[in-house]
Amino acid sequence: MSAKNLIHTRIWREEPEPDNPFATSAAYCRGYDVFGEMVGQARWVEMLYLLFRSEALTVAQADLLEALAVAVANPGPRDASVHAAMCGGVGGSSAAASLIAALSVGAGRFRGAREIFDAMTAWDYCGTDMDAWDAYCHRDTQGDKVDTWPKREHAPGFDPHGISTATSVLQMLGTLARIGASPRLSWLVLQRRQLEKIVGLPLDICGVAAATFSDLGFNPNQGEMLYLLLRLPGAAAHALEQEDYGYKRFPFYPVELEDDPNIKVTP
């Protein structure tokens, strides 16, 4: 094969079997022997981290990532991305379609992976400087360039419909900060009330997740990708469950049509 048709990667290398160049004798992830050494010894989150970062993570980092993965594994059936996956389940759409639906709906700027990207970008920009957060959250976004994503409508990582910080969010923040003892999470524990006052909204789960990803050394693109991945288990389980329940037990809401040609009054 010519050099221009080679696939370049720093992540993965495979050695072929002597009798078949398409069969794998050994596979190495970032240099570690996957089937010869990692399988059976490495934790799932260690593999996950290794794929995205070039070095293995510490035990404390692995504990933190695993705790985060548990926290976000199921956004629950009230979440839009899980609702979308359940729409696949009730109609008997394919498993992949249900997950595609969860990914697409869970990708956005409201409680989705793009909100993680935005929040991590904010962490990069503001760090633990309260004044910087104040400026970031209140900057004029009208002049922002047009993007494939809709415009940001609230400070990323915070709940635009929230009244006070939900107990679940506080528990998640407290536990992750204790496990990770990492800079952003620790600062967030101490400064949350002040930060929420500046933003005008309570912290949301995605805000804690974004701080965790940043503390683990992921960049916003990696955090966005991981958030998409880590929230899929719940979507998958709920999609399968709704397939069992069937469409007759799934909400099909009443409609109030505001532009009905049958009841239009002509002047």
């Binding site: 009230r78 008997g92 759409s93 249900s98 990914l103 994503w149 609230h154």
Partner: protein, 270 residues
């Protein structure tokens, strides 16, 4: 040849009959220069040519167009459209939302699945009848082994689309096909068997028309791919105009939990 030798033959090259493009010069679409020969083609005509390699008459294209138009429902409650709408309301991108809604449309109880299985049913019924079997006997046999797709519908068994599509088929002179007539005959037989809920549905009528046009089940399946598409963008657009998170918000108490009672993780028994 098979195994690694076969794979080695395929390394680093695309062998194709359907087309290719050479950026800066030209593009070929199934043996025709796309710009010189096909630039004025109707989009659906091109789409069908791409799927089948065959050309269709203007009347056939108009009928197939109608099949898409008549079922373009911008109702965000319908499961596939709901996905597009939820994407808009969650501030995801329109392409992600609509692509996911299209993927969801390939469902078992509506959309892609029934259409594919229904055209397969008609073609097998056609073969059985041509071989001398009574249609009623074939239907009885089918009912024993599986569900007959193309008849019966979730939510309401009466399909409001059929009258309009039948009229369009008549206008285009395409309502006398063997399978189109068979579709009504099957409905009559099912009613006679005491199955009043198994009225013909849209999948039944469109697959009969597709079979009359000579489409194979797989060609028909791919033709159906964008069938609901026109109804999806309005759902995304309106949901994107609503405040974020305001489409189908569900309070905690609207979840009817039917699982295990609350229990301790730390105290679990191994």
């Amino acid at each position: 040849m098979k195994g690694p030798k076969f794979l080695a033959e395929q390394v680093g090259i695309l062998r194709t009959k359907v087309g290719a493009c050479w950026p800066g010069t030209r593009a070929v679409f199934r043996g025709h220069d796309l710009h010189q020969d096909l630039r004025n083609a109707d989009w659906l005509e091109l789409y069908l040519f791409g799927i089948t390699g065959r050309r269709f008459t203007p009347q056939q294209v108009k009928l197939l167009h109608g099949i898409w138009v008549i079922t373009s429902y911008p109702d965000a409650r319908i499961w596939n459209n709901r996905v597009a709408a939820l994407a808009g309301n969650s501030r995801s991108s329109p392409v992600l939302g609509v692509a996911a809604a299209l993927a969801i449309s390939e469902a078992r109880i509506y959309g892609g699945g029934p259409g594919l299985r229904s055209i397969d049913f008609f073609q097998r019924a056609g073969q059985a009848v041509a071989a001398g079997q009574e249609l009623r006997d074939f239907i009885t046999q089918e009912l024993k082994s599986c569900y007959i797709y193309g008849y019966g519908r979730p939510i309401n068994s009466r399909d409001e689309r059929l009258h309009w599509l039948a009229e369009l088929a008549k206008e285009q002179g395409l309502d006398q096909g063997r399978y189109f007539n068979m579709a009504f005959e099957v409905e009559k037989i099912l009613l006679g068997m005491g199955k009043p809920n198994l009225l013909m549905n849209y999948a039944g009528m469109i697959s009969a028309l597709g079979a009359d046009l000579g489409l194979t089940p797989r060609e028909f399946h791919i033709f159906l791919l964008p069938m609901f598409l026109a109804g999806m963008p309005p759902c995304w657009v309106e949901a994107a105009e609503k405040p974020e998170g305001a489409l189908f918000p569900t309070p905690c108490n609207d979840i009817a939990y039917e699982g295990e009672a609350t229990r301790s993780w730390r105290g679990r028994v191994f």
